[in-house]
Subunit: 124 residues, 2 copies
DNA sequence: ACAAGTACTTACAATTTTGTTACTATTCTA
DNA sequence: TAGAATAGTAACAAAATTGTAAGTACTTGT
């Protein structure tokens, strides 16, 4: 970490990417979850290799915890830590903002579709 | 955009990556800025190609605005839009959280350093 | 006349992230 | 006795992101 980094950069390093935000979000709202359970419930099909890697990163950063029951067949649970829970402060707002943005851009696209159709009707 | 996406995913698509969060953060707190001015002030040296691309993405998403004064030599300013200003709701918290995390992980590293030194003194 | 600055773009290269496939040992279920 | 499920890992491949170098047309300052 450079000295000059803003908090933004640091937070993005931790939460950015295709999966980490989602995993955190899931674990913030559900009980501790087992590996394959998480895999099934995350939409968009995450591979086990990727899930494994992302979980380790989050664990290394102290946001989640790995609980190994040391049995066969293996049982491992992942649970959010108290520190991980503090990410809710911005994840909640990001979620709301994202939903709002989705509504906006959907209507923008719809408008573009209508304009395109009109142009087609006129010149097509 | 898939139907099943959470707000988190959508927001991350927009703000994620090495530069976009920083650029937004900069424009949230400063007056409209010119291209090379932004380039100079962003720490970590962003290339003009990358800056150009990131600015266009943010413009496409309606978060910033490009004002072309149409003069020679060229003068173009980038300014945050009212909609872009709404990202402050989570960026502010992300910034605070990131600074806090930095403090934490710095002290963790310091602790690791002390422990390593102690082990060296005992066995080295 | 020459260097420096303006806001970029193009062609290309390196790096990082993400994904696929196949595999492990063991137990439970049909 | 075959098949599924458990939590992963290793070797490899593709895709996305980020970067570098050079160039554009024009003006200002030395």
């Amino acid at each position: 970490m450079k000295e000059t980094e803003t908090g933004i950069e640091i937070t993005l390093e931790i939460v950015c990417g295709k999966w980490k935000g989602l995993i955190l979000w899931k674990l913030l709202h559900e009980k501790p979850m087992r590996f394959n359970q998480l895999r099934r419930e995350i939409d968009g099909e995450i591979s086990s290799r990727i899930l494994s890697r992302e979980l380790r990163k989050l664990t290394d950063d102290g946001l989640i915890e790995r609980i190994d029951y040391e049995m066969v067949p293996p049982k491992v649970e992942y649970r959010i830590t108290p520190y991980g829970k503090t990410t809710a402060s911005f994840l909640t707002i990001m979620n709301e903002w994202g939903l709002e943005h989705k509504r906006m851009s959907t209507s923008k696209k719809e408008m573009a579709r209508l304009i395109n159709k009109q142009t087609q009707d006129e010149f097509g």
